[in-house]
Amino acid sequence: MTSAGPLVGGVDDSPAAARVTARSSREADRAIRQAYQLSPWALGICLLALLVAVVLGAAIGPAGLPTVDVVKELLDRLPLISIESGLTERQQIILSSWRLPRVALGALVGSSLAMSGAAYQGVFRNPLASPWLLGAAAGAGLGATAVITLGLSVGWGPFNSIPVGAFIGAITGVSISMSLGRLSGRSTTGLLLAGVATAAFLTAIQTYLQQRNSDTLRAVYAWVFGRISTTGWSEVWLLLPYVVVCGAVLFVHRRHLDVLRVGEEEASSLGLEPRRVRTIVVVAATLLTAAAVSVSGLITFVGIIVPHAIRLLFGNSYRVLIPLSAIGGATFLVLVDIAARSIDAPAELPIGVVTAFFGAPFFALALWNASRT
């Protein structure tokens, strides 16, 4: 009431006031029409960045491929386009069997982790929330460690035992947390505390298994620190259905995540069913994370840093955050993977180390930029 004119009565009908009102109406109309709309510019910039990352990811590696030829080869694979790339047969095999599957896997893993992180932060209204918090990482770690140290055989179809064990472990971890959380009255705080307790318990078992089987420590650590390495497309096909289905579920619930920003009680009074939304989103985000960590190991930080960078650059609405986190996460992990295999070539650095090493300064830069605007 301090600056918006009279609340009641006192109508100013002068021409100047009419002009101001007309301008205000137009601005208000624009603000309402643009409410929650994803800007085509933001989408375009993010897609362009992903395209650049994909081309660089395909071109850069121990056997360098000419970037222009890679672009031509990628264009040649599009329908209705025929163009001579200039790549040799050997280079084409490297591109098809090594680089592109690796880039695709990195993009899918990054997209999964970033979307899941954003979704968890939405349902728990906590900027530090991620599937890790409900025991997904601890469960996956225990599952993979059990397979490696005990020599369990839980392979399925073309997939060996480690990813299957990690997937089962992640789902089990979150399921235990959610069951314990129900005992505490279904509150968000209760669920998070149940997650912390579950993660601690599963980590204790994992540590015990590691200590008892020190000869496999190297293999366990190689998985724990994460890696995007694949030969062929099998892991991509494993992960793709989860990204499509769970990603679609998160995408259609982005409006509900915005309603949840006012808290569960206010959201209920507005007509939302917070528990239903929370359950659906947590299940979808957890499945997505479990599928991602099963093929990549534990790549931390992506689920926190990418959504926050998107927030700083493009705003807080989940209608923007979910789709742009998917694109941003894919871009980020493809670029980080290039760094992981280039910095100490021909050796590869664990990608989890590189995400934190490059991600933290980038995040600081984004924070600094936001504070200036």
């Binding site: 009431m1 301090t2 600056s3 918006a4 004119g5 009279p6 609340l7 009641v8 009102t21 205000s24 109406s25 601005e27 208000a28 109309d29 624009r30 603000a31 309402i32 029409r33 643009q34 409410a35 929650y36 259609v252 409006r255 915005d258 309603v259 920003r261 006012v262 808290g263 009680e265 206010e266 959201a267 209920s268 009074s269 507005l270 007509g271 939302l272 069913e273 927030r311 705003g315 807080n316 609405s317």
Partner: protein, 258 residues
Amino acid sequence: MTRVTVTDVSVSYRDRVAVEGVSLDVEQGHWIGLVGPNGAGKSTLLRAVAGLVDYSGEVTFDGVAVPNAERSKTVALLPQNPVMPTGMTVGEYVLLGRTAHLSWLAAETDHDRAMVGESIERLDLLDFAGRPVDELSGGEAQRVALARALAQESSVLLLDEPTSALDIGHELAVLELVNEIRCERMLTVVAAMHNLTAAGRIADHVLVMANGATEAIGTPAEVLTSEVLGPVFGADISVLDAPDGTRVIVPLRSGHSI
């Protein structure tokens, strides 16, 4: 345009009874003020009417018992301190009021945006539409929250001490504004009010609560008396006649009189 009938409603939190056997009947377009000391059960009663807590007894709207999950089309709640999410614009915030009118997977239509525009215009928020809600003053924030409630297109408005954080000037302005809108749209208003004088001036009826139960119910002249209010608030209370014909209710220091 809805008649609200509350019959023998009780609410318990674990072992504690927050509301016990409260009944009231609010005619459509009327304003009932809920008054009482802190912890009297006013907010809990509002939450029961809004369907946000489990309760025993019955709450009906025009004689129909609407399921809790479907009440938001009939009832809008204006909280005491509405959550103002960081970076959400006024337009986006008011658009949340359309949630109850959207099916599970649908997006807002032009009609929803038009309703938001109408609410924003009615509350003189045109200049604010693109501003983040977390940068508004207390009075502006309450006005924006009221716009969200109007966008909900509900016929019953529940107010949970909406002016407790405002100075007396803004308090009066907000209450007058709600009253104007009530008259325009024939809204039925149930409001928990901490300011007894304001309740006496604006409400058609007043329900006095203490320890979760009804102490008195009637017109302001019938129940806002020192005999009723003194024991309920545990203080000496004086009721004075104001120059405009309404009543001013003030607590007295022990041993003092006006």
